[in-house]
C-alpha cells in the first residue's frame, strides 16, 4: 500500500521540486523571459492565450487521431491482404518499406503541392498517415505469421475456410501484436502531424506546431513553452489511452510474443 502510494507520489513530488527550482533560478539570476521563462510566466501566458492554444491543441489532436485511425485500419487491411496472398505481399511490402524509410519532411513539399497549399490540413493528414502506418503493418504481419503451427493444424483438421481461419485464428492471435504496433503508431501520428505542419508552414492550418512557429518568430517564448507543454501532455494522454485500451483488450490473451 505504502509502496504503491510512493510510486505514485514520487514522480509528482520530484516534478514539483524541479518546477520550484526552475522558478527560483530564473528569478534570482534575472534570466530574461525570451531566453528561459519561469513556470509562472508560462502559466500566465497560457491563461492569456488559452483559447488560441486550446483550439490549436484540438486541431492537432483531430489530425493525429484521424491519421492514427486511418493508418491503423489501412495497415491492418493490407496485412490481411498479405496473409492471403504471397504475391501481394512480395509486391507491396517493398513499397511500404520505401515509405517508411523516406523522411516525412522530404516528401512533405510534394504532397503539399499535390493537394494544394490551401488544403494544408489534408496534406498534413496524409503525411501523418504515412508516418504512422508502418508499425501497425509490420506488427500485424508478424502477428499473423506467428500463429502457432499446432493451432493452424487444428484449423486444417476442422477444414476451416479462409475466412474462419482469418477471423477465428489469425486476427485474434495477432491482436496483441496489432496493439503494440498501434501504441507506437499513435505517438508517430502526433510527431507526423507536427512535423508536417512545420513544413506546411504558412498554410491554412493552425495546430500547435503553427503556434510554436508563430511564438518563436515573435520571441514570445512563454507562449512557445505553453504550446510545447500542451504538445507533450497531448502525446502522453494519447499513449496512456492506448495502453489502457491494450490492457482491457488483452485480459484474455496469453500468448508468448517472444
Amino acid at each position: 500500500m505504502i509502496k504503491r502510494y510512493l510510486s505514485f507520489m514520487a514522480p509528482i513530488i520530484t516534478f514539483l521540486l524541479l518546477l520550484f527550482a526552475w522558478e527560483l533560478i530564473v528569478n534570482f539570476q534575472n534570466i530574461p523571459k525570451y531566453i528561459l521563462p519561469a513556470p509562472t510566466d508560462i502559466f500566465t501566458s497560457f491563461l492569456l492565450n488559452y483559447s488560441d492554444l486550446l483550439r490549436s491543441t484540438f486541431i492537432t489532436f483531430r489530425i493525429t487521431f484521424f491519421a492514427f485511425m486511418i493508418a491503423s485500419l489501412l495497415a491492418i487491411f493490407i496485412a490481411i491482404l498479405f496473409s492471403q496472398s504471397k504475391i501481394i505481399e512480395l509486391s507491396l511490402y517493398p513499397i511500404a518499406v520505401i515509405f517508411q524509410v523516406t523522411p516525412v519532411v522530404a516528401i512533405a513539399p510534394l504532397i503539399l503541392i499535390w493537394v494544394g497549399l490551401d488544403n494544408a490540413e489534408f496534406a498534413i493528414l496524409i503525411l501523418a498517415v504515412i508516418v504512422a502506418f508502418f508499425p501497425v503493418l509490420a506488427n500485424t504481419n508478424l502477428g499473423i505469421r506467428s500463429v502457432e503451427k499446432n493451432l493452424s493444424e487444428l484449423f486444417s483438421l476442422y477444414e476451416a475456410n479462409r475466412f474462419q481461419r482469418l477471423f477465428k485464428l489469425q486476427l485474434p492471435y495477432a491482436l496483441p501484436f496489432i496493439l503494440t504496433g498501434m501504441k507506437t503508431s499513435i505517438g508517430l501520428a502526433l510527431i507526423g502531424s507536427v512535423v508536417a505542419e512545420f513544413v506546411a508552414g504558412s498554410g491554412t492550418s493552425t495546430g500547435l506546431a503553427w503556434r510554436i512557429i508563430e511564438a518563436g518568430n515573435r520571441l514570445d517564448v512563454p507562449k512557445l513553452f505553453a504550446a510545447l507543454i500542451l504538445l507533450v501532455v497531448l502525446g502522453v494522454i494519447l499513449f496512456l489511452i492506448m495502453s489502457l485500451l491494450e490492457k482491457i483488450l488483452l485480459k484474455r490473451w496469453d500468448i508468448d510474443k517472444s
Binding site: 493451432l151 486444417s156 476442422y158 485474434p172 484474455r252 490473451w253 496469453d254
Partner: protein, 242 residues
C-alpha cells in the same frame, strides 16, 4: 477404415517408412514406440494433415472420415473459454454443425471439468487443459479418433476412469481408435491390436493381437494379459539397446 501403402516420410532426413498398414473399421489400435520413433508423425499422416513423401493412404470408400484428433499438446485457443474451445469444431466444420451445446457440457463434466466451463485455458493446469482437448475430440461425432498420448498428464485415478469411458464409447459407437501411448499396460488394456514402432526411420517392428480382455475390477487377471505385457516390454527394451 484406412490403409497405408508403403508410406515414406522425409523431412531433412528419412523419418518414417516403409509402413504398410491396414486399420480395420471399428478396431482399437494402440501404438507403442520410443520417443522420436515417429508416432505423432504417423497420426498426422493418417489424418491427412501432412502428406507422405511417397506411398499413399486409402480411406474406405475413398472418403475421408470425420476425424477427431487429440494432439500431444492441448492445442487450445487462449482467448476462448473452455466451453468455447470445445464448441470450436461445431463452428468450423459443416459436418459438426448440428452438435448441441449440451453435448459439449456433457463431455466437460465427463472429463471432470464441471464448473470450469467459463475459465480461460491459462487458468487451468496442464492436465486440465489436456482434458479440455479430450472433451473437444469426443464432442465431435467422429468415426476415426486419433489420440496422441492423451492421458499422459493425468493422475492414475482419472486416467483409469477415462480409459474405461473411452472403451465404453468405442463399444457403443461406430468408432475406430488409434491410440499412441508410452504405457505398455495401457496399450494392452485398451487395444485389440498393439503396434510397436522402431525408430530411425520409424517402422512397424511388431504387430500384436490382444484377444482376451482384462476387467479392471476383477483381481484375476488373465495370464495372457501379463504375458503380452512382458512380451511387448521386452521388444521395446531390445529395440532401445540396439
Amino acid at each position: 477404415m484406412f490403409k497405408f501403402n508403403k508410406i515414406y516420410k522425409e523431412y531433412d532426413a528419412p523419418i518414417l517408412g516403409p509402413i504398410s498398414l491396414d486399420i480395420k473399421k471399428n478396431s482399437f489400435v494402440s501404438i507403442l514406440g520410443s520417443s522420436g520413433a515417429g508416432k505423432s508423425t504417423l497420426l498426422r499422416l493418417a489424418s491427412d494433415l501432412i502428406k507422405p513423401t511417397s506411398g499413399s493412404i486409402e480411406y474406405a470408400n475413398n472418403e475421408k472420415p470425420n476425424i477427431g484428433f487429440v494432439f500431444q499438446d492441448p492445442t487450445l485457443l487462449p482467448w476462448r473459454t473452455v466451453i468455447d474451445n470445445v464448441l470450436l469444431p461445431a463452428e468450423l466444420t459443416s459436418k459438426n454443425k448440428k452438435l448441441s451445446k449440451e453435448k459439449a457440457y456433457f463431455w466437460l463434466s465427463k472429463v471432470g471439468l464441471e464448473g470450469k466451463e467459463n475459465s480461460l485455458p491459462n487458468q487451468l493446469s496442464g492436465g486440465q487443459k489436456m482434458r479440455v482437448s479430450i472433451a473437444r475430440a469426443m464432442f465431435q461425432d467422429c468415426s476415426l479418433l486419433l489420440m496422441d498420448e492423451p492421458f499422459a498428464a493425468l493422475d492414475e485415478v482419472s486416467r483409469n476412469k477415462l480409459e474405461d469411458d473411452l472403451l465404453d464409447i468405442w463399444k457403443k459407437n461406430e468408432l475406430t481408435v488409434l491410440f499412441v501411448t508410452h504405457s505398455v499396460t495401457e496399450a494392452v488394456y485398451l487395444a485389440q491390436r498393439v503396434l510397436v514402432m522402431s525408430s530411425n526411420p520409424g517402422k512397424i517392428l511388431d504387430d500384436v493381437i490382444i484377444t482376451e480382455k482384462r476387467l479392471r475390477d476383477d483381481g484375476q487377471q488373465s495370464s495372457e494379459f501379463f504375458s503380452k505385457i512382458n512380451y511387448l516390454t521386452n521388444i521395446l527394451k531390445k529395440e532401445k539397446s540396439e
